[in-house]
């Protein structure tokens, strides 16, 4: 009985603390961990959103880069952090794929985090060196099937967006091509520009300017509709590939156990940030759009994460490549 009272009292006082917290939250700087090096696309997305959230929350939202091990180090750091809303994680699709790519993680992907909301879904583009023969997606698929021993697909390393998308492409056309991994997008793109490799599938963040500049050729975008920044590039469905749907979605997470009203406050703030004109403009230049307010919610992110873990598991297992 005594114990029960104690528990109840603790629970009450916790609730009281929590509501006090929410009224004053945030009263100091918030740190958003980006599990990748500074300068990359995820870092850029985070910094743009963090700046807009700072304005809304009235406290600095600081970006901390904790790179390493395909984003799992940074995610693990946040999973272990105090669940007070002052340490957050901005991670992309890798959150879902690393659950399968890494067979031993320091955290349980589905149970270690509270969800704040989706941030953006960056579309992918299927691009190739500019002198590759096929002129459209259909003939590219035929070409790839006919030359599967010589067609090379570049990617930026295991777990990278380009790696996932490359796997998805090969699985969509049911053909395994020659995979050429690189350490990062930069070197992979350099070799694509130089015609050293044939195909790559990467985020618009990395490819839009190159496509516009005519230095590489685009065969398809992976979105249901054509992109405003690349109006001439057909969708994969237009080209006859219906099951080739990949986007690099980004989500904002907090450690499990963060008070509900704090999560709520952060989620609201994220929605405000995503409606910020600067964020919209900058995202547009990168070839992406902020998630709509309805998706910048805990429920939407939770559903996305669960769905994506389930979707990628068989693809990764079929490729048989793990990162640990």
């Amino acid at each position: 009985m005594k114990k029960l009272v104690a528990v109840l009292a603790a629970g009450l006082s916790f609730a009281a603390v929590a509501s006090v917290q929410a009224q004053t939250f945030p009263d100091r700087n918030i740190t958003v961990v980006v599990p990748f090096a500074a300068g990359g696309p995820t870092d850029t997305v985070t910094r743009l959103v963090a700046e807009a959230m700072s304005k809304d929350l009235g406290q600095q939202v600081i970006v901390e880069n904790v790179g390493g091990a395909g984003g799992t180090l940074g995610a693990g750091r946040v999973a272990d952090a105090d669940p007070d809303g002052y340490t957050l994680l901005l991670h992309h699709i890798g959150m879902a794929t690393s659950a399968t790519l890494y067979r031993k993680l320091s955290y349980d992907t589905l149970n270690a985090f509270d969800y704040i909301g989706l941030v953006t879904e960056v579309p992918m583009t299927l691009v190739a060196r500019k002198d590759l023969e096929p002129t459209d997606l259909k003939s590219l698929v035929e070409y790839a099937k006919a030359n599967k021993d010589t067609v090379t697909v570049a990617n930026a390393g295991i777990g990278a967006a380009s790696h996932l998308c490359g796997m998805m492409f090969m699985s969509a056309i049911d053909t395994s091509l020659v995979t050429v991994p690189y350490k990062g997008t930069g070197p992979a793109m350099t070799d694509l520009l130089g015609g050293q490799v044939d195909i790559m599938c990467d985020q618009t963040t990395n490819t839009t300017k190159q496509i516009q500049g005519g230095t590489i050729k685009a065969y398809a975008v992976t979105t249901p509709e054509r992109l405003k920044v690349l109006p001439d590039v057909p969708t994969a469905a237009e080209g006859g590939l219906n099951n080739f749907d990949v986007s690099i979605w980004h989500g904002l997470y907090a450690p499990k156990g963060t008070p509900a009203d704090v999560v709520d406050r952060l989620s609201k703030s994220l929605q405000v940030a995503l409606a910020d004109k600067n964020v919209i403009d900058r995202f547009a230049e990168l070839g992406t759009i902020p998630s709509p307010a309805a998706d910048a919610t805990p429920a939407a992110l939770k559903a996305k994460l669960e769905g994506e873990i389930a979707r990628w598991k068989p693809v990764i297992e079929a490729a048989g490549q793990y990162a640990d």
């Binding site: 390493g68 180090l73 295991i158 020659v178 050429v180 991994p181 350490k183 015609g195 839009t208 500049g213």
Partner: protein
């Protein structure tokens, strides 16, 4: 003449009072943070990056570029004064620069480094302005086979880094290559030599290894003799290089600039080799190769020029292709995107003021550095009169912060301690750290490109000789081997029977 109108536009942009101010602030901040021991260019820029976000795009990039040069210069300063290189290029500067400092010529070494950098910066800025597009198309000819062959040339040249036993130097290179392989194999995703520590799955941190084997090992060596030796830098000679020193630096500076400019263009890691390659060349052409490793002027002037020229021309792939050649350039690209400029092949035509403004500011930044640093030399040299037992706890504190700030990874700090120990033990066994560091940066590049070339060629090793650039590079490696190795083996053989160095 289009070039002149472009340069004029660039100068007009960069020389606006505000941009000049931001350039100055950038150079100053970069120098001040970069000069803190153990904090290299990447860490400095990552730390200072957010400061630039509030500015206009052009100003912010000009300031950032200034930070970059400043940080690089600061890195050379610590390499010379306390043998603490913050990145691979200044590791070479440490070899002879630190020895000059120990002989009381710290001021000369710093001035030589500053002048060499300025000269190289000026020349390579013009190269960038004149030839950026054609140079880019050459750089794109480099595929995996070419990079592999280039790295072979680098490895062969590394022999010159040694001034003791060649076999031991080779051993250190191989050890460095092995250490460079620690981390996840990018082809299979298998972690290698990480002893199950996931924090090392992206490899060992360069700054941790460099600070360990150079800086900490040096501190320990100094502590050894603490009781017997009065003051480390008892005499601090003239602040400025003598006339002979200046004369001796001209040729190395020219050669270093040429080597650095050429290698810096290659986005796949050419700039890494610049300083090492220059050192090799200088040691070979020198009439007094024995001076190297004991404070040779050419050993500072050449690599410093090469390093700065390479840093400058490594902007070419970024500006013309929108592709980062190194982590620093990746940071620059991130900064550009946040400013609303997505770098790509069209930046020069879409944003001429920005493009040429940055190029012009490179030169202005270099000029400011030289103006700023020549008077500061006196101050830096004074630092050496601080008693050593006061200096090294400060060094330890800063290098802890510097290493930790890059990735927020405590394991990088454990690596500092480990490599400090290894470096010290190896130094006691008369093994030199420079070849190890070269091996460390080359290891992953060598293996990656070898395996990539084999994958792309479907397992046909003849690509290395059938691709013309690769074949030429391999011939060059062979030539270096013949010229460098044979006579020294003969000499060595004589020496071995007398006394080992």
């Amino acid at each position: 003449m289009e070039l002149f109108s472009n340069l004029a536009l660039g100068l007009a942009t960069a020389a606006s009072p505000w941009n000049l101010l931001f350039c100055l602030i950038g150079v100053l901040l970069g120098t001040l943070v970069g000069v803190l021991p153990g904090i290299g260019a990447t860490a400095t820029i990552a730390m200072l990056l957010p400061i630039t976000f509030q500015l206009e795009p052009v100003s912010s990039l000009i300031m950032l570029a200034g930070i970059y040069y400043g940080a690089q210069y600061g890195g050379s300063t610590t390499a010379i004064l306390i043998n603490m290189p913050g990145e691979s290029s200044s590791a070479v500067t440490a070899l002879d620069g630190y020895q000059m400092a120990r002989r009381g010529k710290a001021g000369s070494a710093l001035a030589i480094a500053a002048l060499g950098s300025f000269f190289a910066g000026t020349v390579s800025t013009f190269l960038v302005a004149l030839f950026a597009p054609p140079l880019t198309s050459i750089a794109l000819q480099f595929g995996a086979a070419e990079y592999f062959s280039l790295m072979v040339v680098g490895l062969v040249s590394s022999i010159a880094l040694a001034h003791g036993s060649i076999v031991k130097a080779l051993g250190m290179v191989v050890l460095g290559l092995l250490l460079g392989l620690v981390g996840t194999d990018i082809y299979s995703g298998t972690p290698r030599f990480t002893f199950g520590i996931r924090e090392y799955s992206d490899g060992l941190n360069f700054v941790a290894v460099a600070v360990g084997v150079f800086g900490i090992a040096e501190i320990l060596r100094n502590l050894e003799t603490e009781k017997t030796r009065e003051l480390l830098m008892a005499k601090v000679g003239g602040l400025f290089p003598s006339r002979e020193d200046l004369r001796a630096m001209i040729a190395p500076m020219l050669r270093g600039t040429a080597i650095g400019s050429a290698l810096g263009i290659l986005p796949g890691g050419g700039a890494i080799l610049a300083a090492f390659a220059s050192y090799t060349v200088e040691k070979r052409v020198s009439k007094t190769p024995d001076e190297f490793g004991r404070g040779a002027v050419a050993g500072v002037a050449g690599p410093e020029s090469a390093n700065n020229a390479g840093a400058q021309t490594s902007f070419i792939p970024m500006l013309t292709l929108g592709i980062p050649a190194n982590p620093v350039m990746a940071l620059m690209i991130g900064a550009m995107i946040i400013q609303g400029i997505v770098p790509g092949p069209n930046v020069a035509t879409e944003q001429p003021a920005l493009f040429w403004g940055i190029i012009a500011s490179m030169w202005i930044g270099n000029l400011m550095l030289v103006i700023l640093n020549l008077p500061l030399i006196g101050l830096w040299v004074k630092l050496l009169t601080v008693p050593y037992y006061v200096l090294f706890p400060i060094i330890m504190a800063f290098c802890s912060i510097g290493v930790y700030s890059v990735n927020g990874n405590a394991y990088d700090l454990y690596a500092v301690a480990f490599f400090g120990l290894i470096g010290y033990v190896l130094a006691k066994l008369r093994c030199e750290p420079a070849p190890l560091l070269l091996g460390f940066v080359l290891g992953p590049l060598l293996e990656e490109n070898l395996r990539r070339a084999m994958i792309i060629s479907r397992g046909d090793p003849s690509v290395f000789v059938t691709r013309p650039i690769s074949a030429i590079l391999l011939l060059l490696a062979l030539a270096v081997l013949v010229v460098v190795f044979l006579p020294s083996v003969r000499k060595k053989r004589d020496e071995v029977f007398v006394e080992e160095d």
